[in-house]
Amino acid sequence: MTRLWSASRLTYLALALSALLSVFPIYWMFVVASRTSDAMGQVPPPLTPGGNLGANIARLFDNTDAYFLTGLINSAIVAVTVTFSVVLFSTLAGFAFAKLRFRGRNALLLAIVATMMVPTQLGVIPLYLLMTKLNWNDRLPAVIVPALVTGFGVFMMRQYAGQAVSSELIEAARMDGCNTARIYWNVVLPALRPAAAVLGLLTFMTTWNDFLWPYAVLNDPENPTVQLSLRALSDGYYQDMSQVFTGTAIATLPLLLVFVLFGRQIIGGIMEGAVKA
């Protein structure tokens, strides 16, 4: 590969400006979260953190109306469960589609690709009726179970398995008498790990952020996800904006943490997915 264009000062300046725009709203969220509620509407707006973050956090968790702690825990339960399930089922199906031969394979794969094009959130009404029938309204299974599989995950794993899992290894394992389940566990899963990790991270973030469906089906104010707690905080009878912003900051924190720790992998995953898709 020949050399890339070099970056001029102007490039750096433009990038710095873009980075500033990207980061500023997040930064400002933490600024307001660390001040008293008088910061709302001040002119000029405050741009540096204050010393009230601890007090705001304490008040937020003591605020019995928002069930913020329950929201955090619920979101963690939902996001972790969904992430594990999506990764498990996607790697299984991805492996099958990439490496196993069976009747109807191509048609079924096409069907999965087609599901990615279908806006499933348009199904909220019957899904709501279904949950009522299952008696899952207001309960976590209502937001967990429909998210347990994604077409995107299967497709991503299938694309990755195609190149990352060596057919020779699979064959060798078969010769050794491994059945398909053992092959999945001993050969395929280790090879898929990098991509599975990225899929897991992306799934975790999407699930953590989900709003429309929980908003429709979780009506019990005592049992919200964290995004619903935020809505309750910001739509309350009266609002304490520093508390609302503390809530938004805390709801964002797990995502930022994941991003800081695994940013490189996430970026790699997004970029690889782009080339293959």
């Binding site: 509407g41 968790f61 329950t70 339960i77 299974p141 309750a232 309350g236």
Partner: protein
Amino acid sequence: MLTFTRRRLAAVAVVAVTALLGTTGCGGGDEATADGPVTLTVDVFGQFGYADLYQEYMASHPDVKIVERGTGSNLDEYSPKLTQWLAAGKGAGDVVAIEEGLLVEYKADPQNFVNLLDHGAADLKGNFLDWKWNQGLTADGKQLIGLGTDVGGMAMCYRKDLFAKAGLPTDREAVSGLWPTWQDYIKVGEQFTAKKTGASFLDAATNTFNTILLQTAGNSSGYSYYDTGNNLVVGSNPAVKQAYDTTMDIIDSGLSGKYGSWSEEWVSAFKQSKFATIACPAWMTGVIEGNAGPGAKGKWDIAQIPGDGGNWGGSFLAVPKQSKHQAEAIELAKFLTSAKGQIGAFKLKGPLPSSPQALADPAILDSKNAYFSEAPVGKIFAEGAKNLKPVYMGPKNQAVRTEVENAVRTVELGKRSPQQGWTDAVSNAEKAAAK
């Protein structure tokens, strides 16, 4: 600090376990068994001020555990949820709060609720203002859906510091004397505006419109958007048009800060002292305190409402049929709506009692609100409450009200002329009522 953290951790663990078991979401307290304690769920919105009463009740009823849900939530959020729970046949609390504007809607399906008359409630009639009692009855008078909690007697809350800045009197008697009528209120507003304090005279036209409407309707026909035969009369009831026109005068005079009620802007405007008066039903005092924050303590005061009386808001407690602990729930509802219960709620969060005994009680009459410059809130609100003239509200009252107030808002924002706004109000209200 350590104990603090440990307690929090323990709380995390407990919540995690309950969430996993999926018990928190079932409402209705159906996890209780025959021999164990009964958990009663109370669904409310806003602030009903029951926390202390629960403690007292649980102390005298060791077999009952009370959980309140929805505290601090907006009525717009709460009532649809209740509708969903009632329709689904599960999910609702054992005791549910119903706001008067929505009561008629729920009365249309009385089978969803326990008939309190079957449970000895008839004896309690004397504990409530007559009209409040009657509102809780179905049209045929045979079923009592709900027991009254509070009424929304009205006053005008104002900022003393801003009034002083504009050279207006600050004493509550003197301020009340400034505005016997709404036209006087507008004149005061014009004086205030001329002094350029950097604040508007009032927060928004929509809340003020509803105040004027309920007052005008109470003093004339006794109904607003619907007549007592449940016919939509938005366009033909003179009370509605009169209230609309008065509101238009307020808008024309440029008195409104145009902060959309309940929005973030509105909250910030409280914080930044951006308006001087706000129409103030009894329950609004708690909202003001919450929004304006401790920094504004002592800057607010309460005067008489312009015009004559009026009632805005007030709720009922009902027991859904789906409750698995109806007997216990009924007993709790009776306790919370008793004169004693109403006084307790008033002391904590300020909702004005609907019980004549409570209204005459020194605990109410002598009460002062420290946040509002030690204003004798008990006296101010209670005196008017006995002479309140209720307004009848029809089946789609809330939806219709939303449309009309949206029309007022579009005029306030300069998007529509008053004439266009009125046309919109009537036609959109008709559309909403038909949906």
